[in-house]
């Protein structure tokens, strides 16, 4: 019998940061091929960082990503401080956590409200969604604005802030400067709880995978800037051992390198991994919100990551309030860092997951070699693996729905292809046996 073959193509997958394409080939109900292609032109940061001074790394690497510049700045300064043996002041450490809370809030609000929620409610974008859900969209924009306000207060501006420095900050705020954030953050905490309840009410596809989750773990706190790299399959290493355990593979269809755990394969970084590995370190409010939303670790449904992002917003608001309440300015805004020939490593938790940096410095403080592994390149293979399973599950759905659901599955990861691409084009090719 000659059954018709079908091809479903979408030229652009939108609402992701950067340019990429998705190609799925189906034969009947069987998935024959899945490729997440990253077309973003390579910008070659690791090459031109060579010969630059260590003090420039935070400003330069911020330009890898306009959505999470703080993450790049934090991984860069921590790696260099480790190379140069700089021990930062506890007040600086707290301020950096506050800086990061601002970025998480801004980035998660952007993704939850503007990039992902429209998929669940059937809109092309948040602006169309606002016609029917104006109050929610306005709440999302205000949450985002408050996150941005924290980043701008500490760093001068939301995108590519200017204050992060090796040894501390170029300028640290007085106690009184942080106080005006308190009222906003109290509102934001309630709004984040409301967000969690709102997204928990969405309909989620039944889909679970047996993931290897990888995140930082710190004994006393939900991870942002510091910790060992841990997984649910027994990995527990110092950041300096990262390259012994993870490998980057160069595949033909992508300008971003694919990461795998050596000897095992793909893994997942980001909110779901942090939540599953660090649930007990979330503050009471966040854990309670999770319980109300019916989400407990281990959560293996990637579509529910939107709820976890909302819960991480609850965490970020609470943590920011705690830091502001306890804040005393450090004695000096930044410690001097003396150049020496050394290598330093750091990983911090960008909104989208683990962000690894390594720098080799010479005795004058110039960078001899740099390596940067962004979260999206670590998740890239995992996204493909999800689609192998998910596309098979929905293979018989009508083409338009199948395509939209696959896009939504990619957006579960909040992929930031600028950290590696520029448009995401979905192409589903179908033929029957």
């Amino acid at each position: 019998m000659n059954r018709p073959s079908k091809t479903v193509k979408v030229d652009y997958l939108a609402r992701v940061e950067g340019e990429g394409a998705l190609y799925i080939k189906l034969k009947g109900e069987r998935v024959e091929d899945v490729k997440l292609k990253i077309y973003e032109p390579p910008r070659l940061f690791e090459a031109f960082l060579r010969g630059r001074h260590f003090s420039e790394a935070a400003d330069i690497t911020a330009r890898i990503c306009g959505i999470c510049p703080v993450a790049y700045q934090m991984s860069a300064v921590h790696a260099i401080e480790r190379a140069l043996g700089v021990q930062i002041d506890p007040a600086v450490r707290a301020l950096r956590r506050l800086f990061y809370c601002g970025e998480w809030l801004e980035s998660h609000a952007l993704h939850v409200y503007m990039l992902h929620a429209p998929d669940f409610l059937g809109y092309a974008d948040a602006i169309q969604m606002a016609r029917d859900h104006r109050a929610e969209v306005e709440r999302g924009l205000r949450l985002k604005k408050i996150g941005n306000r924290i980043v701008a207060l500490l760093g001068g501006r939301e995108i590519h802030p200017v204050s992060a420095a090796v040894g501390g900050f170029y300028r640290t705020p007085a106690r009184s400067e942080l106080q005006p954030l308190v009222e906003d953050l109290k509102w934001a905490l309630d709004a984040a709880v409301a967000t969690s309840r709102w997204v928990a009410g969405f309909a989620f596809p039944e889909f679970e995978q047996d993931y290897e989750f990888v995140a930082l773990c710190h004994p006393g706190e939900y991870p942002l800037n510091e910790g060992r790299i841990v997984s649910n399959r027994g990995l527990d290493i110092d950041v300096s051992q990262y390259e012994d355990h993870f490998q980057e593979l160069h595949v033909r269809h992508s300008n971003a390198l694919h990461s795998v755990v050596r000897g095992r394969g793909s893994y997942l970084v980001g909110p779901l991994a942090r939540f599953n590995l660090n649930f007990s370190r979330l503050p009471e409010t966040a854990r309670q919100t999770a319980a109300e939303c019916g989400i407990t670790p281990p959560c293996r449904n990637p579509f529910r990551s939107i709820i976890v992002r909302a819960i991480e917003m609850v965490f970020a608001c609470g943590e920011a309030l705690r830091i502001i309440a306890d804040y005393e300015p450090p004695p000096v805004s930044r410690l001097e860092a003396r150049p020496r020939a050394a290598t330093g490593w750091a990983a911090t938790e960008a909104p989208r997951g683990l962000l690894y940096h390594r720098y080799e410095l010479d005795e004058q403080g110039l960078i001899r070699a740099a390596k940067i592994v962004p979260p999206t390149s670590q998740n890239q293979k995992r996204i493909e693996d999800d689609l192998w399973g998910f596309a098979a599950q929905i293979a018989t759905w009508p083409p338009e729905e199948l395509q939209w659901l696959c896009e939504k599955a990619v957006r579960n990861y909040d992929p930031c292809i600028s950290c590696a691409t520029h448009f995401l084009r979905t192409e589903v090719e179908r033929s029957e046996l």
């Binding site: 939108a14 609402r15 992701v16 940061e17 950067g18 340019e19 973003e40 032109p41 390579p42 910008r43 070659l44 940061f45 690791e46 090459a47 031109f48 060579r50 630059r52 001074h53 400003d59 330069i60 330009r63 890898i64 990503c65 306009g66 959505i67 510049p69 952007l110 503007m114 429209p118 092309a124 974008d125 602006i127 969209v137 306005e138 924009l141 205000r142 985002k144 604005k145 941005n148 760093g155 001068g156 501006r157 939301e158 995108i159 590519h160 200017v162 204050s163 420095a165 170029y170 300028r171 593979l249 160069h250 595949v251 033909r252 390198l257 805004s333 896009e407 930031c416 520029h422 448009f423």
Partner: protein, 261 residues
Amino acid sequence: MSSERRKPRLAVFKFASCDGCQLSLLDAEEELLAVAEAVEIAYFPEASRAMSRGPYDIGLVEGSVTTHHDAERIQLVRRQCRTLITIGACATAGGIQALRNWAHVEEFVRAIYATPQYIRTLQLSTPIAEHVQVDFELRGCPISKHQLLEVITATLAGRKPNIPTYSVCMECKRRGTVCVAVAKGVPCLGPVTQAGCGALCPAYARGCYGCHGPMESPNTTSLTTQLRIWGRTDAEIVRAFRGFNAWAWQFRRASEECERS
């Protein structure tokens, strides 16, 4: 009375960049819904999966040209946009990725990728105006969202955008910031850099690093001389001019003169 005017159609295009400048539009949280009422956001893949075909009244272009494919694509973009505005240092000056312009790009690619033959990229990272005619260039790494709203508003009103071309020093004075260069000897590109950021870096106790690109007629030679007097090495001065606007011709000339001397 009933003939309601068609809303102007806005499109946002991305080339090699970090997405930060187009994010500025989404970062205008208070104005975003109002903008969406004033114009039809016809093409903005970062924000919407609804993508309408051209022609567009206003095209915002972010990013630099670094591939053959993008060199062709910018021609198509130009043909679809009545007014084409470049946003940010990548689109107006080639961006930080233009540092490759002083190196061998093949060596750069080999340094990062295990299989360099999979990577297709051009030797130079170039601004949009080297490829097509541009109606307005908005500087900054990143751009200022207030300046972006001004440019969009002015374009819709058919007037010239009110974007100052004087230096960051003017903004420092207005802000009442003590000059970090004069008072502390901190190297600062403020005297040659276009205003627009609000003189952020000096207010955060550091020198300006030139993210808004060269001002109108900058005296880079004088700044180089002064930096040398303050004991900066030529290598340091070259690095200072080779930042986010390295390929802007005034900064490029300054770094190359310093390298030659």
